[in-house]
């Protein structure tokens, strides 16, 4: 079987809907190039560790922040370019310091 025959055979079982893998990676690449992914990830890691320490779920954090669990999921992947207002909201919700620590 040639390479092309193998590809043709597998193509018969191709998914009918588009994967978001490529578009997600392109967004992440842009965020990295713009420089904010580095910071959004640091906030994501700090948030995740605080959640684990305090035994807080995504749903509970969403309730405390007044947002959706989907938003919290994106925040924890560093996918949100957070505003100062949103960071303050997160600090209050988890009783942690993010900005204060950086500017102390």
């Amino acid at each position: 079987m040639t390479q092309q025959e193998a590809i043709n055979r597998l193509s018969r079982y191709q998914s009918t809907t588009q994967s978001v893998w490529k578009s997600d990676e392109e967004k992440r690449r842009t965020a990295k190039a713009q420089g904010w992914l580095l910071y959004s990830r640091k906030i994501a890691v700090k948030t995740a560790l605080a959640m684990n320490r305090q035994g807080i779920t995504k749903q509970e954090l969403a309730l405390r922040m007044g947002c959706s669990p989907q938003y919290v999921s994106k925040l924890l992947k560093g996918e949100i370019n957070l505003s100062l207002d949103e960071i303050c909201n997160l600090e209050t919700a988890l009783n942690i310091s993010i900005l204060q620590y950086q500017f102390a």
């Binding site: 079987m1 040639t2 390479q3 193998a6 590809i7 055979r9 597998l10 193509s11 018969r12 079982y13 191709q14 998914s15 009918t16 994967s19 978001v20 893998w21 490529k22 997600d24 990676e25 992440r28 690449r29 990295k32 990830r41 994501a44 890691v45 948030t47 995740a48 560790l49 959640m51 684990n52 995504k58 999921s73 924890l76 992947k77 560093g78």
Partner: protein, 180 residues
């Protein structure tokens, strides 16, 4: 089970398992960028992290994973038409010397990384990603999450044989080619 083309020329695919919204590459890449998922994983596997990698700080492990994950994404996103995928994927069994039909393969961003992509080799230079894992132990059989990856590879392999994607005629072709 269906398959998603990862690169347009059809040399790299990823499995979309039944009931999943997207393929396994999307799934593992998403997990490896999720600080919450990673924190939970490393807390559960802290003993392996310490004994095999001498890392005691979970925060360091999370950042290392994210960095390696980005490197892996770059490798895949930037595969050029003349790139040889046989150089990225290697036999799962380090001692396997000969070609194997629908061979089980692994790929990683660099030699030191604990990240693994697992794949089935459909033909020369054509791979199907079946899953991925953070491998902290020497063998895959030692932990449930890596053992599951072995099972997934077997499941995909059986599907390809059963559905005739790599059928008896291909098996004969393969034997002829191997004999040359």
């Amino acid at each position: 089970m269906t398959f998603d083309k990862i690169i347009d020329d059809g040399r790299l695919w990823a499995v979309r398992y039944d009931k999943d919204d997207d393929n396994v590459l999307q799934k593992v890449m998403s997990q490896w960028s999720d600080a919450h998922w990673l924190a939970s994983f490393f807390m559960q596997n802290i003993e392996d992290l310490i004994s095999y990698f001498k890392i005691t700080n979970i925060e360091d492990a999370i950042y290392q994973t994210m960095e390696d994950r980005d490197d892996l994404a770059c490798i895949i996103m930037d595969i050029s038409p003349d790139a040889n995928l046989d150089r990225f994927f290697r036999p799962l069994d380090n001692n396997r010397a000969s070609e194997m039909i629908l061979g089980k393969e692994k790929g990683r961003p660099n030699r030191k990384s604990w990240l693994r992509l697992y794949a089935i080799k459909l033909n020369v230079g054509i791979y199907i990603i079946t899953g991925g894992a953070i491998k902290l132990t020497r063998t895959m059989q030692e932990r449930e999450h890596t053992l599951q990856e072995l099972e997934k590879m077997e499941k995909v392999r059986n599907f390809l044989i059963r559905e005739g994607v790599f059928g008896e005629e291909s098996f004969t072709d393969y034997q002829k080619e191997a004999a040359i």
